[in-house]
Point group: C2
């Protein structure tokens, strides 16, 4: 294998997530793109390559060809552009492709975007669109929805590990708490365990507050080789590793309902490539599309044994100051889940934290290493990326 | 820039294109995947990375997450997989991503697929789905269809360069002739100029035989570093260069309706990287989604001046034995246009030709260098790839 170049993030930003009735997919991409270029202190002309994560532009707004569309509206023609898609992991996979482009030496300054405009369709239609992430013939066709599939996982997990609904509620409470401190979050309201436990049932045992929202939003990161990044910023954030793994789309083919093997595989690969240990990680951004998914992620990433993440939650160890702060931006639950953008949004949060620039009350003091975990479907795709402030 | 590894194609295959009522998107991908692995003489376990081009799985069959889906059904888990999309250039862009993955030294054996299942929706609905490749807000919303946009280009071209409908008809006649010699082509029937000129008008001046069909199909190529490829085959086909360029999605923003700048830019970049001259190219596979597009491609790729490709057609120079054989498999017109697969299908044809293994009557004798040209929309994305049999 060739020696790879070290890659750093020069800037990483998100739009506010939410229901943006006044903004289309182009507007969201443009807003994030301009903000990223400004924060990076580069010119649009410096960008050599563009990768955009988007899950379902076709079904949400009738628009495919999103890579070229974003290049067009950001005035980046004629640079190469493309869209990558891996359902809700589209953003993470886009980041990986950008990383590959720079690490390979083929490109220097690369923009990685993620964008999704979800609210132009009715909520029930959005649920159908999102079902495109599962195995259509074996799951969606028979009426499965994602809340239903994650409810199956939660039910099995409750049976195997005696998880209580109160523990899931506490995950939502934490994420809403951090969302309240994040001006760009979709939801800014704090909630209580009582509110979560009495919120409407969506798919037993999952209730409203166990589910992430349907959000519009975009995020963009600018990558460059570390030596070039240092010319633009005093705090380049080094990409220590990024890894992807895949698994069966349908739950019925999995060896264990309570483990996402793709997360396990991607995490092991990423830690091995990064030469970093779990105990060196200061915070993690995990894919909490449903509260149960945050528990699985903490375990499958290797931060504790299977069945024990609930103890971390009960002890408050996933808050800042605890053993492993999780989703300090509010996560998918509160910060929002514009599906194709989420993986890049996670990177933006880590970069902010590793630079010590997080909003008041939600900065992890002295954070040196952060990990992002982005999945598609019920974990048919998982992307794990480890960043550090070693370059600063 | 790091020194890149030389990349070669070990195998490249397509399914038969057509209306496959008995096959879904998984079946098509599986069929091409198994065939490619067999032809390569590798095992599925040797594949380290999978990139799948697909334009609109969501809108055509309700299925996104196509990379992981194909990995799943080919039994490739847990390798990294992703889908890339650039409208009808999705296959070409997927090939580029696979090339990047191997050239970078990050992966050795990489599978690049393209797949599209288009016939599960009604033809008029397929037209709407394909409109996702144009600028939805500025073109599709106002009722534009691709036949209409290419008709605008053809009309302008006729005005500027005195192109006659007979010349466009001759392009279709050639492509149907080569389709008749290609067992995997969607259409095997020969047609006459008279038939083409009297076929139903689709969008004036384009008639039925000026338009490529709606096809189901899949194609897969297996890539590896040249030194490793030589272990598997005596005729590895070297990827001399691959380049992508982007342009505005909407025609109204173009400087010239008769030139696809993305093709010009991608071609110039590819020839520069390959250190190959136009006169060294023995055959080209171009993106003839409409007959007029074949003319534009020949010119924009640099094989003649603007306005002069019609002379090559009139003189029969685009047939085998002529100055530059074009679309010896029948092109999109006759071999078929399963949109996300087309770019990889073109690679399969070049590999066959460069190995001297094309079907009887359509082999370009002694072909050493071939070029593939794949575009998305009306040219918002163009991919140009140059292959040679130098490795043999």
């Amino acid at each position: 294998m060739l020696k790879k170049r070290e890659v750093a993030v020069i800037s990483a930003v998100t739009t506010k997530c939410g229901e943006h009735w006044d903004k289309g997919i182009k507007d969201l991409a443009w807003e994030a793109g301009v903000k990223a270029v400004e924060e990076a202190g580069i010119s649009g002309k410096d960008i050599e390559y563009l990768v955009v994560g988007n899950m379902s532009g076709g079904m949400f707004v009738g628009q495919e060809h999103i890579g070229a569309l974003v290049a067009d509206f950001l005035g980046l023609n004629p640079i190469p552009s493309l869209r990558v898609e891996a359902a809700c992991a589209s953003g993470g996979v886009a980041f990986y492709q950008g990383y590959l482009a720079v690490a390979s030496g083929l490109y220097d300054v690369v923009a990685v975007g993620g964008v999704e405009k979800m609210t132009d369709v009715e909520p029930e239609q959005a649920t159908s669109v999102l079902a495109g992430a599962m195995d259509f013939e074996w799951e969606a066709y028979f009426g499965a929805t994602f809340p239903a599939l994650y409810a199956l996982i939660a039910t099995r997990y409750m049976h195997e590990y005696r998880l209580k609904p109160e523990t899931l509620a506490k995950i939502a409470v934490k994420n809403h708490y951090y969302g309240s401190l994040n001006p760009l979050a979709h939801f800014r309201n704090k909630i209580t365990v009582e509110e979560a436990l009495t919120s409407p049932l969506v798919a037993d045992p999952l209730r409203k507050y166990d589910c992430s929202p349907i959000s519009d939003g975009a995020a963009v990161a600018i990558l460059a080789p570390l030596d070039i990044a240092k010319k633009y910023t005093d705090t380049p954030i080094v990409v220590e590793a990024s890894a992807i793994a895949s698994d069966t789309l349908s739950l019925l083919k999995r060896r264990d309902l309570c483990t996402l093997d793709a997360t396990v595989n991607a995490a092991n690969k990423a830690f091995q490539l990064a030469h970093i240990e779990r105990e060196d990680v200061d915070l993690i951004e995990v894919h909490d599309c449903f509260s149960i998914a945050e528990l699985l992620a903490i375990e499958d990433l290797g931060f504790c044994k299977k069945g024990e993440a609930q103890n971390l939650v009960e002890e408050g160890q996933t808050y800042i100051g605890g053993r492993i702060p999780v989703n300090t931006d509010g996560g998918l639950k509160a910060a929002g889940h514009p599906v194709g953008a989420t993986g890049v949004k996670q990177i933006a949060e880590l970069v902010k934290q590793l630079r010590g620039e997080a909003d008041k009350g939600r900065q992890v003091d002295g954070a040196e290493v952060g990990l992002a975990h982005n999945i598609g479907g019920t974990g048919a795709t998982a992307v794990v990326t480890i960043l550090s402030r070693r370059g600063a």
